[in-house]
Symmetry: C2
Subunit: 602 residues, 2 copies
């Protein structure tokens, strides 16, 4: 229940008792960028006053008083760009994990579950969201399916009317823009209609402009998108900022920007006295184990401060700047009279150590104790059983067929690790099938349509995953979430996919004809109802198996890479159930097999 | 005509010719706070691209190209808080004056003409506004009349429904808040309903919190207002900022904040590395002569830079920060792809010397030549004849009557110059009338109701105006614009008021039984249709007469002070046709005469 602003007046004036007073804190003032002493006076879900302690002491006692001595009060952290499903845990578990870390609001785009279960799936996620103390706002998905049906099979279509309808959800806060920017640059009419609609509604138009520069960046921005969370270098961040774009920095070791980029950014900010109001943090997609061990926005702030960003400035990236970017700064993003009482009491500013989290004036986390739902959330049965294959797969179903009788074939392989590339390689042929060559770092890759029993399978190769043996199958595979399977051989790949269908989604690792590890994600093939600690353990076990038993070169962040490797939204290539796709500059299907025989012969 | 954003894409990409290209400028980037080289590409009223010159050169030639070499391109200046009527000239003249000085948009609250001519008068002003190249947005008046009818007679009432209706004007941008803050703190239901309505519409709620501090400031802000333009000290600005309030700095020599305050503010910003995003400039009320000789926002920026504020930061106060404060930053406030093409080419950044002003992609000022309406705007007859007295006034009509037969009386006098005070003084009595005592700096003051022939006259005294002889009558007298008359004797006061009725408003100076100067303002008793140069000359002549012939202690800014002396909106006192009013902490009428005889006898 939102307290009426007029009902705050008498509390601020001291004519009426407050519900909550937090006395004697050091206030982190993100509006003025100062620390100063303060008493905070709250009525209902809003802050009625922030007072000099000498003045605050004159007010009548509150119903509840917290002694804030020794603590720094910071605004609750706001994450502008999240996909909850990527955590693999329920919203309930997600909230339980991040509220004690200081995040009080997230803006979530539910397009993962939306691609699998459509509008009903997204409603399901937000029904659960309404039961947790964390504030969860809706980023209305920018496009479901992500790409036209000729490029990829998804299980849902969000029409322009559906999209408009989602803006009527009470949580709606912006139009999400996790789409291929080519749809904007190429003037896809429906995409431009959505943007125009969002502008008409007065909400923020989110976007992503991976490596767009110069005239492409200008064209993208002039069409309406206002932010990007996919910058991969400081130069890109600076160019975006100069173009008036908000940078939503998905800081993350092993992903686009890490601490070293932040050290460089800190230097640039300092040397040029740059304005930083357009900078924000987000966590975007984050797995259960990373969430648990690394943290949420707290980790981003901690890393930024350690990298040399001024502490309050770093907190602004996750508070005021985000609220401004989402156009919710009337109510959120700072500790000031009239704003929502979303407040952290910090034991340590630089370490982002949270002693207490207050949301809407209620203490929801205090000294290790979280006051949210205690029982696991149960999803209905219709959210399960979403992995539907046309038939059990055999080895030959996943293999690339050689075009002739030559002992080798020249094929296109997608190359991962950094910017996605495609290159041509020669691979051996046996029994009419083009074989992967793990010794040379080339794995087979297949994308098995899993929603509609279409029998569609995209077949090809990938360099950079580094499996020396066995196979990994996954139903988490943005954005359509078909089954991606990577392997050193076709036999283990088929085994892994068939097992994944049995457990109805998640991850399966097969090796030498046996299943050696699995992580079931039965809800839409994306999420588990287990406690986050258990999902995190299973995820780490999977990483260990891949590293120790299948010969993956790195144990860290392997899934972060694999989940997005095939995504056609990020240029310049993707891999779908239709096979290899070109996604930068133009949208097109590419044949895997270039020619029979060796490249040298052409 | 607003170009569709999607139609910018091909221009940015270089597939289609631009309408305008500005090549080779140094861009003042208010988003990143940097200067850097740029080409600016425009289609219709919007910027399609801002490019590195190396990239921009690759684009096809534009229909019109401007060589920007040697110029700095800055965003057009935006004034968030203006009352055009206070300039005493037509909107046409106002625009002609400020567009060459770099202002491309103003947000105007037409409550001056609104108090005199009601909704129709405000529509009249905006009808004229639609014919000038300057962009004029509407600040929907916060309250007409300013105070309840028992305190003051105005000529119009803007109901809650009327107020709601004005938000449907295409120019509406915010709820103005030039009201007595006591109406908010005292929970006036209609005022709080208006605020709630504005929040519901998603627009900015403007306010004013003169010297409110601590719990009063908190109460005011928690009710919804977001800014204040009446801070009178750096301490007040800092306290407001800490409370999350936007400071709209009405920098002006002789008014609340001047260059010395700005030097102090610059020091505080520098020493504490304060965030300055909440700081804005405005001009508020500015007379024709000041506008012409001092300037508009250009003067504010110039003064701030001279006082030590970083140049781009100072421009942010009149561009990006204003656009954010008015929630129009999607389209305004910076030079970036997709924004409106409101651009200045500056010859000198620190001096704010403008070579060219571009609004909506059209060059509207270039090298001394302004491309707006050339003929004077004519107002309809119904906007004239607004000074309606019940009868010709005699001396006794304006005089304070002594309560008994004593030779002296103790009266309350309002004291001006700085914060308004009321003090008690003893004045001589002659013929039953309490007389002013100019030798001791005390003038008579009367407020003659001029709208409805009610015959209401408020009678009293004022210290600080300093007329040694004669009288000054004025129909410009915020916000009700009744006739204020200040005098060293009642005879000249009556003469001045009667003459003012004859010329239907403006200013009249009488001395020793003769009219010695006058400035007719026949439109609503507030504005002239003459060229601004002429009005400015007449205003300066009035100042000269007051200084040289009537003995005013200062020639500078005397009218700025007198126009607002009686205003009940600014605590703690005002003076209306009902007499002396108390306006701080509570609203009340105060008797002028305290007691017969001397104060000492009480």
């Amino acid at each position: 229940m939102d307290v009426r602003r007029r009902d705050l007046i008498d509390v601020a004036l001291g004519h009426e008792r407050a519900d909550l007073a937090i006395r004697g804190v050091t206030l982190m003032n993100v509006a003025s960028r100062e620390f100063h002493p303060a008493d905070i006076v709250v009525k209902g879900n809003r802050i009625a006053a922030v007072l000099d302690p000498a003045v605050g002491a004159e007010l009548p006692p509150a119903r509840e008083t917290i002694d804030g001595t020794g603590y720094t009060a910071a605004p609750g952290l706001i994450d502008p760009h999240v996909h909850i499903e990527s955590s693999m845990v329920t919203v309930t578990e997600y909230a339980r994990t991040i509220v004690p870390r200081g995040t009080t609001m997230i803006a979530a785009d539910p397009h993962e579950i939306g691609n699998v279960l459509g509008l009903a799936g997204m409603e399901l996620l937000f029904t659960e969201a309404r039961g947790v103390p964390l504030k969860i706002r809706l980023r209305v998905p920018g496009r479901i399916p992500a790409v036209p049906a000729w490029m990829e099979t998804s299980n849902a279509t969000l029409s322009l009317e559906d999209t408009r309808g989602m803006f009527d959800w009470p949580e709606a806060v912006c139009l999400a823009g996790d789409i291929n920017p080519e749809l904007v640059l190429g003037k896809d009419p429906e995409q431009l209609d959505k943007i125009e609609m969002a502008i008409g509604l007065g909400v923020t138009v989110s976007g992503q402009s991976p490596r767009l520069s110069g005239r492409n960046l200008a064209a993208f921005l002039s069409a309406g998108p206002e932010d990007s969370h996919v910058a991969g270098s400081v130069d890109e961040v600076i160019e975006n900022t100069r173009a008036g774009m908000r940078s939503v920095l998905a800081l993350r070791p092993g992903r686009r920007l890490d601490a070293s980029h932040f050290a460089a950014l800190a230097r640039v900010i300092g040397e040029r006295n740059l304005d930083t109001r357009l900078f924000q943090f987000c966590t975007d997609d984050i797995h259960a184990n990373d969430l648990l061990h690394e943290g949420h926005l707290d980790h981003r702030i901690r890393t930024a401060i350690a990298a040399g960003i001024d502490p309050i400035t770093a907190y602004q990236f996750a508070t005021l700047n985000v609220a401004e970017g989402l156009r919710i700064d009337r109510d959120h993003g700072s500790i000031a009279p009239g704003k929502h009482a979303d407040i952290l009491l910090l034991e340590d500013v630089a370490a982002v150590r949270v002693a207490m989290t207050i949301i809407d004036g209620r203490v929801v986390y205090r000294d290790g104790s979280y006051r949210g739902p205690k029982t696991p959330y149960r999803y209905p049965d219709w959210a399960r059983g979403t992995v539907r294959l046309a038939k059990e797969l055999g080895t030959a179903d996943l293999a690339v067929r050689a075009p002739g009788n030559e002992p080798a074939a020249t094929v296109r392989t997608i190359v991962t690790g950094g910017r996605k590339l495609v290159k041509e390689v020669e691979l051996p042929v046996e029994g009419g099938l083009v074989l992967p060559d793990p010794a040379r770092g080339i794995n087979a890759l297949a994308m098995v349509e899993r929603h509609r029993k279409s029998g569609n399978i995209g077949r090809g190769f990938v360099e950079g995953v580094g499996l020396q043996s066995g196979a990994l199958a996954s139903s988490v595979n943005h954005d359509a979430h078909n089954i991606a399977v990577f392997g050193a051989n076709y036999e283990d790949m088929a085994l892994a996919v068939n097992r994944l269908a049995e457990i109805q989604g998640g991850y399966v690792v097969a090796k030498d004809g046996e299943i050696v590890a699995e992580l079931p994600l039965p809800i839409a093939g994306l999420m588990s109802e287990k406690p986050i600690e258990q999902v995190a353990d299973e995820m780490e076990h999977l990483e260990k198996v891949l590293f120790e038993e299948l010969g993956c070169p790195s144990r860290e962040k392997i899934f972060t890479q694999l989940n997005f490797l095939c995504l056609p939204n990020i240029p310049d290539y993707g891999f779908t159930d239709k096979g290899l796709v070109e996604t930068g500059g133009k949208l097109a299907l590419l044949e895997t097999v270039v020619a029979p025989g060796t490249a040298a012969r052409q």
